[in-house]
Subunit: 205 residues, 2 copies
């Protein structure tokens, strides 16, 4: 694309580096900002800069937080002995929205993925193992997405925990509530039969 303005070109170039945003979309977004009051652009720039410069990770669970210890870890009514291992803050938000979990989290910050150059040392696996070795945790719940990378990460952590007396579990895989069996994929349906639960348990909440 040939731009009549260097300023416009720079803004579009920077914008189009965001994932899923091409040059055309970037141009549309930037032209939208030009039509809005200058304040909107100022606030957007300020919010992004402040976030990037001042954001902290919770000292205990490595979730994104404004304080040294995040709200969840600082809440005394939550069970600190149960820890749910997740990939990032989006998973924490999804589980929190269910209202079904009262334990702590441990945010890995990604999954082991040699293809993307992400090894165990780039993730917060070491602090998790240390917490376990310090005897602070009774149970670890693996809640990573069930992809090749997710399974690899689960297995790596599981291996690291060998020799400790900790209880490990993983979230149940099965047919979604409200789904038709007919349209479910074989792997999920197969797992939901193998891991069937006593009927009386399914009537709780």
């Amino acid at each position: 694309m040939d731009f009549s303005s260097k300023l416009l070109e720079q803004a579009v170039d920077e914008m189009s580096q965001l994932p899923g945003i091409g040059k055309r979309t970037a141009l549309r977004l930037v032209l939208h900002l030009l039509k809005q009051p200058e304040e909107q652009t100022t606030q957007l720039s300020k919010a992004l800069l402040e976030l990037r410069q001042n954001i902290k990770l919770c000292n205990n669970c490595y979730n994104i937080s404004d304080t040294e210890l995040c709200e969840i870890c600082a809440n005394p009514s939550r069970v600190s002995e149960i820890v749910c291992v997740v990939e990032d803050i989006r998973d924490v938000m999804a589980i929190e929205n269910t209202g079904q979990y009262r334990g702590h989290y441990h945010v890995l910050g990604g999954k082991i993925s040699p293809m993307d150059g992400i090894g165990p040392s780039q993730l917060t696996i070491k602090p998790l193992i240390e917490k376990v070795q310090a005897g602070k945790i009774d149970e670890i719940i693996f809640a990573l997405s069930s992809t090749l990378e997710g399974d690899t990460t689960n297995f790596y952590i599981f291996k690291q925990l060998e020799g400790t007396a900790i209880k490990t579990s993983t979230i149940a895989r099965g047919i979604s509530v409200g789904d038709e069996l007919e349209y479910a994929d074989e792997v999920t349906l197969g797992r939901s039969i193998t891991n069937r639960i006593p009927f009386e348990n399914s009537m709780k909440s």
Copy 2:
């Protein structure tokens, strides 16, 4: 959505005010920025701010420009007596990409649209009429998109020009090059028959 961080919430709120970007996409973009080097966020913020604060409109054609007179208007090899009326810079870029047009442009900055509260006074119609009255222009080419708003705007300008000796034209509507007649809509096909051109003209470039 409940965020564990006010900074994150603010950034997502500002980001999701852009058109076509919802809360979830905004969160994905913001988390992406957090994973990239701090420099990327700094440059994005800077580029957006500089654009918004320093951008100029060309004194002659009202296109976005870094200088008082844009490159096209300042180019002496272009024909200043023919003016193509377009909606915004994207249309200028599209026509420039064809390499078929050597005249000037006049960027309206929008279309007359009472539904969105945009009247003739918010557009650069007055300066266009003044240029015509000053006798600087021989021909005006209307190149707005053929929607209700585009047609209204064309007609409004056409009416304003009544009494002047200026030649007006509009870009040809018809079947796209390479398209099958079978799948063309009736209005376009009808227009392309009514406005048929001598066959020998169609063989030029």
